[in-house]
Amino acid sequence: MLSLFSVVFTFLALFLLIPGLFISRRLRLHFSLKNIIRFYKITASKYGDERNDERPMGEKEKRAKNRMPKHVAVILDGNRRWAEKRGLGTSDGHEAGVKRLMENAKDCFAMGTNTISLFAFSTENWERPEDEVNCLMALFKKHFKSEMPYFQRDKIKISVIGNRAKISQSLLGLIEEVEEATKSYEGKQLIIAIDYSGRFDILQACKNLATKVKDGLIQVEDIDEKAMENELMTKCSEFPNPDLLIRTSGEQRISNFFLWQSAYTELYFPNVLWPDFGEAEYLDALTWYQQRQRRFGRRV
């Protein structure tokens, strides 16, 4: 009786308590059974992907292989509302948002995503009050400087996309420095959209194609989806089209983020504000994504 009890207890400790404590400490998660099971599910699917490379795959297994999103896009919405709820200023909200961003990016890469895109600043955001805009620009500068060693240590390639015309010289210099320092890394990429608008992206790609036609480099008939993808700003990435797009704060809109690229993207709208979107919420999003049946217009 006692031996049975001790066996069961050892089993539980080995497989649940100790790994659970370890996982929840590492991922700053609430220590609960649900989160532990979620983590096991996600890691198992990642491990399953790697093992499946070694043997010939059936139809169902092929589908299961595509279960981890290669490219996750995030619209960071809700900083101001978060600050208002706590009686803080807008700048505190944005500060909390950026901190959360860095934490989440580290965890996302740890879970196996190749590319993460962030909608940091939209072209429409220039119309916000001047001190808010200045505060945001200052935040970008501060964090580019402070996070550079981390990017180099973890070999994360940084790309900044957007219309660079209105950005200050100092920030522009910093951006070019970070891009130059990390341009040779492969496997992990962080795309930051500053002064980006989906329509502007498509328009500048169209203009480039039109100029190429005018200069005789290509014919009108050669303009197809591949040609377009090679002109869009996401051409810096191996996976230009996001598999999963997360917009926090419950608003169900794309607000002019990736338009062309999100043709077949799964859209996820959690009701949580961005500074509250932590590891647990990201695990929820991944679990939800893995249950999606992506057909791309065909029958499964």
Binding site: L203, A210, M228, I254, L259, W260, S262, E266, G297
Partner: protein
């Protein structure tokens, strides 16, 4: 005694009619109340879930789409009663051509049948004064469907009360590419004849003139937008995709940058008044916030 079943039938028919009238009246009252707030000008629908509905109800293959068509007619009636001016529906995507040939053929047959029925006198098109546009790469359709579509477009050209845009053989990426190609052809074909090379030295005024000419030769935003097939309607205010899938599937990517997206879990043939009302209420909630922000600028 033999009259009894007949009498019962007439009575139940009468009760049914009475109930329908009561429902119709209460629905119109509801719409009046909703119209107190802002009403969307343009509604877009992705009619997803017909095949799953057929499987769920144990029907045969093509009948899911038929049930979907009746649901569509119902939605159009509600939109008309609410006063929504533009309705766009995603009938057939270019990707759907990759489905099984039998399914594609049955869909084409169904569409041909329904398009032809639009030309009849009693159809809703004439009843509600709907102008119909067929948007998409019509060259990919077979000749019969294309001819019928063009006939309907011509027949309804004079209507103006409501505009119905049916996206058939449509892909948003394809639409954008066609717009770029058209802009290129428009802008540059006449320049090909006029492009002699200037061998002599350019004076200042000539350089200036050339600059202005170069600007005109460049593609602007307005060129692309003019050449988009969807330019006949403003951008959608709400996009509703049934069956709970939360993706755009290459539909109106350019136009829905700022639209409210709604993803009710009901399959398309099950969609009803409550989903429409819920979508509009959500639109009204965020619309006032967006208008307030626009006013702050």
């Amino acid at each position: 005694m033999a009259e009894l079943p007949g009498q019962i039938k007439r009575m139940s028919g009468g009760i049914k009619q009475l109930l329908e009238q009561i429902f119709g009246f209460s629905r119109r009252c509801l719409f009046r109340i909703i119209s107190m707030g802002p009403i969307p000008n343009h509604l877009a629908f992705i009619m997803d879930g017909n095949r799953r509905y057929a499987k769920k109800c144990g029907l045969e293959e093509g009948s899911g789409h038929k049930a979907g068509f009746s649901a569509l007619m119902l939605m159009l009636q509600y939109c008309y009663e609410l006063g929504i001016q533009y309705v766009t529906i995603y009938a057939f995507s270019i990707d759907n051509f990759r489905r099984q040939p039998e399914e594609v053929q049955s869909l084409m047959d169904l569409m041909l049948e329904k398009i032809k029925s639009l030309l009849e006198k009693e159809s809703i098109v004439h009843q509600y004064g709907i102008r119909v546009y067929f948007i998409g790469n019509l060259a990919l359709l077979n000749d019969q469907v294309r001819a019928a579509a063009e006939k309907v477009m011509n027949a309804t050209a004079k209507n103006s009360r409501v505009v119905l845009l049916i996206c058939i053989a449509y892909n948003s990426t394809d639409e954008i590419l066609q717009a770029v190609k058209k802009s290129c052809i428009n802008k540059y074909t006449y320049n090909i004849e006029a492009s002699g090379s200037y061998k002599h030295e350019d004076t200042d005024s000539e350089i200036e003139a050339k600059d202005i000419e170069n600007q005109e030769k460049k593609i602007q935003l307005v060129d692309i937008e003019e050449n988009m097939q969807m330019s006949v309607a403003p951008n959608p205010d709400i996009l509703i995709r049934s069956s709970g899938e939360t993706r755009l599937s290459n539909f109106l990517l350019w136009q829905t940058g700022n639209s409210q997206l709604c993803f009710p879990a009901a399959l398309w043939p099950e969609i009803g008044l409550r989903h429409l009302v819920w979508a509009i209420l959500n639109f009204q909630r965020s619309h006032s916030y967006l208008e307030k922000r626009k006013k702050q600028l």
